[in-house]
Each structure stands twice: as C-alpha cells, then as structure tokens.
C-alpha cells in the first residue's frame, strides 16, 4: 500500500512542481523586457566612463599632446602592444631633445590591463570607452595615437619634468625610473571620484 501512495504522491508533487515552474515563466512573459537595444539606442546608450575600449592620446586645441616619448608605457606593457618611436632633434638653444615620432598601439593585441596609463609620468595617454572598433582588416587595428603634425605641450618652468629619457636607452631595467611616479598617479587619478563614497 505504501508503494501505491508513494506512486500517487510522487505523481502529484511532480505535477505540482512542474506547474510551479510554469508559473514563473508565465510571470516572466508579462514582465517588462530588460533588453538594451543596441544599435537602436546608440544615442542614449551609457557606457561607463571607466570602461576601457581603446587607448587615446588627448590632444588640445593647438594639436599638442603631453607625450614625451619616454617609452615607459612601452616597457610596462606585458605583451608589446605599444611601440614608441622617437627622434632626437636640436632645439633653438642648442640642446638635444627627444620628441615623439609615432606612438603606435595595437588594438588587436591590447589586454586593457591599464598598466601603461597608470605608469605614464605625464598623463599623456588614457583609455576611452568607444567600443565600436570592429574592422575587416587586421592592419587597421594598429593605430597611431599621436595626430599628424602634433607636438609636445610646453610645460611651465616650475614643473620639473621627471627623468624620462633614460629608460629608452636602457631597455634592460625599465620600470625603475617610472615607479616613483606611478604611486602618485594611482592615487591622484582616483582621488577626485572618491569623496562622496564614504559618508559615514
């Protein structure tokens, strides 16, 4: 007799559980949908500011950037995504100076680990959240970040430029000179966004 009651109770609890499951889908059928309709919502789509999708080198209105071609980003990159080429020119007052030739970055290889940005001593590069980057040709992914004809932004006198020339020559020990700046960078970067976070 026990087995008979087990048979029927099994049958009915089974059916009950199935109906319960169906009630969940039934409810979902009528709940508002969560889909974000890209690309129809392209105008209104909000991508987090911090989202890293491509590396850019901001240029100001005079077509000037902040990159001193120190090469620290290149050396901090774990897989050689960045290639900085520079040339030595002589300034008017006879000093030798290194200027940026091309800052080349391979979007197809980048892992977006952010090391280049946080180690950059002069804040010359940053990550942007424009994610629409798909292309048909592989070579299009290799980008030159500095704009055509751009030049280094002149710094004010009191701001001593950090020792940036050395590492390029000394490829063996790269991070040494970069690091002291790194710490300041990290903190400085995030500080502005922090204050409201901890009210208590």
């Amino acid at each position: 007799m026990d087995s008979v009651s087990k048979y029927f109770s099994g049958l009915f609890t089974g059916i009950g559980s199935l109906l319960k499951g169906m009630s969940v889908t039934w409810k979902e059928l009528w709940t508002p949908k969560v889909t974000r309709q890209y690309p129809e919502n392209r105008e209104t789509l909000v991508v987090s500011d911090r989202f890293r999708a491509e590396l850019v080198m901001p240029h100001d209105a005079n077509n000037e950037h902040a990159c001193t071609a120190c090469g620290i980003c290149q050396m901090n990159c774990p897989n050689g995504t960045i290639v900085v080429t520079s040339q030595i020119i002589e300034t008017e007052d006879g000093k030798k100076k290194k200027i940026l030739d091309t800052h080349q970055w391979d979007l197809g290889m980048c892992t977006f680990c952010n090391l280049c940005v946080i180690t950059c001593p002069s804040d010359a590069i940053k990550f942007d959240n424009n994610f629409e980057n798909a292309v048909f040709t592989r070579s299009k992914l290799i980008q030159k970040l500095n704009a055509e004809g751009s030049k280094l932004r002149e710094k004010k006198k009191e701001e001593k430029p950090t020792a940036e020339a050395k590492p390029v020559i000394e490829v063996k020990a790269p991070v040494a000179d970069a690091k002291p700046v790194v710490e300041k960078e990290v903190i400085a970067k995030v500080k502005p966004e922090e204050p409201k976070a901890e009210k208590e």
């Binding site: 169906m22 889908t25 979902e28 059928l29 889909t35 309709q37």
Partner: protein, 372 residues
C-alpha cells in the same frame, strides 16, 4: 444538421465550386487535376504554417526569456523566417564521404513526407479536408509514425556517433510514446464511436469531447498532448537532438536544405499534434455553441470555421512552447519510466473507465441531453 445559414467567409464553397466546374471532365482528369491542386495548396500551407510557427516560437520564447526576439528584419522581425528560408535554400549541401549516400539523402524526405501525409488528413475548416477517410484516426496514427524512419535512417546513415545515439534514443522514445498516443485517441473513438474526423467534429457541436467524456477525456487529452510532444521530439523530450549532449543529434551531419527539412518537419509535427488534439478533443473547427442560445451561436458562426481551428490549435501550440521553455530535458530512463510507469497504466485504466462511462450512459450528453 450542419449550420444552415450563409457564411460569406467560409471557404467550403471553393471546393464545391471546384467540384462542379470539373464535373464535365472525364474521371481520370478530374481526379488528377484535383489531386494536383489540393497537393499544391497543402504544400503551400505547409510551408507557410512552418514559417509562421518558426517566427512565433522565436518570438514567444524570447518573451518567456525576458527579451524581445527577432525585431530587426522587417516590422517586428516579421520577415525573419523568410530570410532564414532564402538563406537555407541556397546553402551548400555537403557531400559527405563514408556515408550510405542513398539513405542519407532519402532520410529527410521520409521525415517531410510523413508529416505532409498527416498534415493532409487534418480538417482545417468546414469543407477544408483533403481526404475524409472513415478510418481517419487510424490513418493519422499509422502515417505519423513513418517520420521515425527518417530519424532512424538519418542517424544510421550519417556515420557519426552522435547521430547514432540520437537515432537510437529516438527509436526507443517513439516506440514507447506511439502506444500512449494511440490509446489516448482510442479512448475518444470509444466515446464517439467513429474514426472519421468529419463525423467526430460534427458530434462535438455542442459538447466538445474533452467535456463530454469529462474525467476520462481530460486524462486522455493530457496524455495525448504529452505523448504527442514526445513523438515529435520537442522539448522537454528532445533527447534525440539534445543540443547540450549530442551537438545536434541525429541531424548533425545534415546541412543546407536537408537540414531545413528536419527543421520544418519539427515545427510542422508540433502543429499536427496540436491540430489533431484540436480535432479530436476540442471540437475541431466547430465554433463555441451553446444549446438554446441562438443569438450567441449565430455570432459565433460568423467567425469562419478555419479561424476557430487555427485559434484552438494556436492555444495548444502556445501551451507546448510554454512547457518546452519551462522544463529541463528528461533523461532517457526518466522518459521511458514516464511512459511505462505512468502514462501507459493510466491510459489502460482510462480506456476501461471510458468504456464504462459510455456503456452506463455517464457521459455529459447522456446525462443532460437537454443541454446538448
């Protein structure tokens, strides 16, 4: 005693007109032309229904899953399945080495033929019935089981181990559930005393079979729906093609239009099961009629019979989608246990109960003859 007032939207006039216009021809030609015409119409409906069903399933599924589903191809994505069709028609059919080529090519046709043959026997509306066998139920049961040959052949001839396992599962599944489906239909045959679809439908004018035989009919209905879905390999009974286990199951090796056939047949079989269930249990194309409420009946009658048929079928199809997208897949032993441990014994008892109901006059029409 079929409805006797004019219904401008009914299509049964078309077939009658066809009959009269062809009556002058010799028999051979008349039958040939009719056959061809009916064949073309059925095939077209077949394809159109499949397209609609594919779209409907994708859309309804999406809504169950908190998303929108196709909505970029045409308005609301209405042309989605058209695009799919164009694509699949022009897709390469791969010649595969080391397969039994004849059987490999024949298998999808078996599948489609079986479903077209069953499809042809369904009464879509008043007068919209290609052949009205007096053994309709038997015919449907017999013909629909041909589809399994398509599955088995596909699995066997593909020279692919996944396909083979899928086909074997399908075989076991089909043999088991055909039994239940057949018994469930037989229960209703006991109730109505006829195997002819048209007659069965007429008898349901005021009281659908599912109510007429009350408990017994309802059990038969549920069992038929369950085993019907198991027969058509739709979730949660989709073991033969179990995507997460067997990649694509028995049709893994098929590409292009051959795969398209299986894809079509799957949806059509779903329609057929719902259609037969409608015909047998839910009064087929009969409108909702209440004895004595002449005004109401008249209004209902203005809605053409095929609309009734398709909407009833639509409800059943929705039910099936709902079930499919709610449950996980059964395992083969659960599947067989469900059949042999639950459905079949219940069915056997049920058919006896039905016989008793009919013999002792306990059906609704017998109990309350004034109402029906």
């Amino acid at each position: 005693m079929i409805l006797n007032y004019s219904q401008p939207l009914e299509l049964d006039g078309v077939s009658k007109a066809l009959d009269t216009s062809l009556s002058a021809l010799p028999d051979f030609w008349r039958i040939l032309i009719e056959c061809v015409l009916v064949g073309v119409v059925i095939l077209t409906t077949y394809a159109v229904i499949a397209l609609i069903l594919i779209y409907a399933e994708r859309k309804i599924t999406a809504f169950f899953q908190a998303r929108y589903g196709p909505n970029r191809v045409g308005k609301w994505g209405l042309l989605q399945s058209v695009a799919d069709t164009i694509k699949i028609l022009l897709k390469e059919i791969i010649r595969i080495n080391n397969v039994d080529r004849f059987l490999f090519f024949a298998a999808p046709f078996f599948m489609v033929c079986a479903s077209v043959m069953t499809f042809g026997a369904i009464a879509f509306g008043k007068g919209l019935l290609a052949v009205d066998f007096n053994i309709g139920v038997l015919y449907v049961t017999a013909v629909s089981s041909l589809g399994i040959i398509g599955v088995l052949l596909a699995g066997w001839s593909s020279n692919n181990k996944y396909s083979m396992i899928g086909a074997m599962r399908s075989g076991a599944q089909f043999v088991s559930y055909e039994l239940s489906a057949g018994f469930a239909l037989m229960t209703i045959v006991v109730l109505t005393g006829t195997m002819q679809f048209s007659e069965m439908i007429e008898k349901q004018q005021y009281c659908w079979n599912i109510f007429n035989g009350h408990i017994s009919s309802m059990i038969a209905f549920v069992i038929y729906i369950i085993s019907g879905h198991a027969e058509t390999n739709r979730g949660p009974f989709d073991l033969p093609e179990a995507e997460s286990e067997l990649t694509a199951g028995y049709h893994t090796e098929y590409s292009g239009i051959q795969f398209g056939f299986y894809y079509l047949a799957e949806y059509l079989n779903m329609f057929i099961i719902a259609g037969i269930a409608t015909t047998v249990f839910l009064g087929g194309y009969m409108p909702i009629q209440v004895h004595g409420w002449e005004g109401f009946n008249q209004v209902m009658n203005y809605i053409p019979s095929y609309v009734w048929f398709f909407s009833k079928t639509g409800v059943l199809i929705f039910l099936s989608l709902w079930v499919r997208w709610s449950f996980p897949r059964l395992r083969i032993d659960q599947l067989l246990a469900l059949e042999w441990k639950y459905l079949l014994p219940i069915n056997l008892v049920n058919i006896v109960v039905m016989v008793i109901l009919v013999l002792t006059g306990l059906t609704l029409t017998d109990l309350f003859p004034s109402l029906f």
